[in-house]
Amino acid sequence: MRAHGARWVPYLYIAPVVIIAGVLLYTTIGFAGFASLTDWNGLTSMEFIGVQNYVDMFGDRTFYIALRNTLLFMVVTIVLQAAIGLLIAVIAKEKLPGSGFFKAVFFLPIAMAPAIIATVFKYMYEANYGSLNETLRALGILDDGAVIQWLGADLGVWSIIIINVFSWMGFSMMVYYASLMSIPEEMYEAAELDGAGWWRRLFSITIPSLKGTTAVLVTLGIVGSLKTFDQVWLTTQGGPGVSTHFLTTYLYQARLDREAGYSAALGIVILVIAFALAAIQGRMANRKDS
């Protein structure tokens, strides 16, 4: 399509999206890269200090706690969401009466704002008057007057993981369900004629056919984990102490503490991890396909 219009016409069409998304986002990254080399409070003048922020980071215990929490969250949420999502998708494919209702229940949290879900869970998890401990006491699992600190230093990250699984498992389920429906029925019929039982068909046909889908879910899980902020900030704010900080919340806290240079360096580290993991994962997925 080049019969009409000058050579610059296509650039006119892409200019808005390139300027508003591309230019703005790459500018922020460049800015963050520069700011990470400075001592800066976020408002007044910057003082160039080279790679000192990065050196500081490697000796910063909170950085390692935040890194550990982010990676733990990444691995556990990816595995749990894929496993539960696949389980429900496989059952939903059997077209049991009422399976539409169950799919709607699991997909429902996707329509709710993470900030609102996080707030519901925060008050549900509260140790003394929260509903979760109340329910456990009513069921006799927890003694009267006993408390579990769901958002304490030991369990906090796991409780945040549960919020994410609640929010996003339905997404994995729908994606798996969509790709299950695209496996040709003849493959199952042929296997059945060969005498393969339900489990055999699950492991020799269903699961291998879902490799590509799983790879996509892993990529999205990696990117999503590195973006996770609301669920931590609105429940624990990284506390108690610094025990439940994620890289994103630690960065935000550093910004509020007027350590904008250090905060920018944390941002660069998050970006490097994001691009590196996405690239490695993409390469591995490509190798499996070919």
């Binding site: 429902l108 900030a115 994103t248 996405a278």
Partner: protein, 267 residues
């Protein structure tokens, strides 16, 4: 497969579904039951007449911010998708790849530069100042979805129109846009939901409480030490704030589900 399923297998499947559904409905049930604690329906009245929290203003702000962002995303996304799908120009692949790489950027990683840039443009505490970065962070995935839809339109139609003397914009407006109705609907719904749900950007860029969207307005119902009554009111507030999302979800479920999964399958 259906013929060979035993009764025991059916029971086991229902047991799994019911058990998991109970876990998923528990937090929602808690929120609903607690929202009626102590004051009953009065909690809802109290929230709607709250001194600090203005429900209708929060919902209105969210509609303005999410709606405005959606309009901009759909317009600039479809124009860009048209060029990347059907025009030949230098740098097409490189520019498209550089844009797609933006998908991996977490908003949180660049909050400080973003704050400085938006402040520098004197756009803090303005709707435009929130809409602009919301568009930046959400338009790329929508560009990709629209390009995938545009790629499916047969080249012959474009050639025929070109021979008839149609200029690119006419081909875009009279062929691509009408033929991509479902894709544009999907992108609109997804953009709206994603922007509606955003918390970090407004939290960073809006400090004027009268401009708070729903995600941020939740903070206006929380206090340092909360009484049981205030917690019950908070829950009724959360339920009220979820109602608009649920209405969007119910009325556009078809586009939402296919859109979200298509975004995953084709990326």
């Amino acid at each position: 497969m259906k013929t060979r399923r035993t009764k025991a297998a059916t029971v086991a499947m229902y047991a799994v579904l019911i058990g998991l559904a109970a876990l998923w409905l528990y937090p929602i049930g808690v929120a609903i039951v607690k929202s009626f604690a102590i004051g009953g329906i009065g909690n809802y009245e109290a929230v709607l007449n709250h001194p600090q929290f203005n429900y209708w203003s929060a919902v209105g702000n969210s509609f303005l911010i999410a709606g405005g962002s959606t309009v901009v995303i759909v317009i600039i996304g479809s124009l860009g998708a048209f060029a990347f799908s059907r025009m030949r120009f230098r740098g097409r692949t490189v520019i498209y790849r550089l844009l797609l790489a933006c998908l991996a950027i977490p908003i949180a990683a660049v909050v400080t530069p973003l704050f400085t840039i938006i402040s520098g443009m004197e756009l803090r505490n303005t709707y435009i100042g929130v809409i602009l970065p919301l568009v930046s962070f959400n338009v790329v995935i929508m560009l990709m979805l629209l390009k995938n839809a545009f790629d499916g339109i047969p080249e012959e139609i474009v050639e025929a129109a070109t021979i008839d003397g149609a200029r690119p914009f006419r081909i875009f407006w009279q062929i691509f846009v009408p033929l991509s109705g479902p894709a544009i609907a999907t992108v609109s719904v997804l953009s709206f939901v994603y922007c509606w749900n955003e918390y970090l950007l407004p939290n960073l860029l809006l400090s004027d409480e009268s401009m708070y969207p729903v995600t941020q307005a939740v903070s206006l119902l929380q206090f340092e030490r909360m009484s049981q009554e205030q917690i019950a009111q908070l829950y009724s507030g959360l339920i009220l704030l979820t109602i608009p999302s649920l209405l969007v979800y119910v009325s556009s479920q078809r586009y939402l589900q296919t859109g979200i999964t298509a975004g995953a399958v084709k990326s």
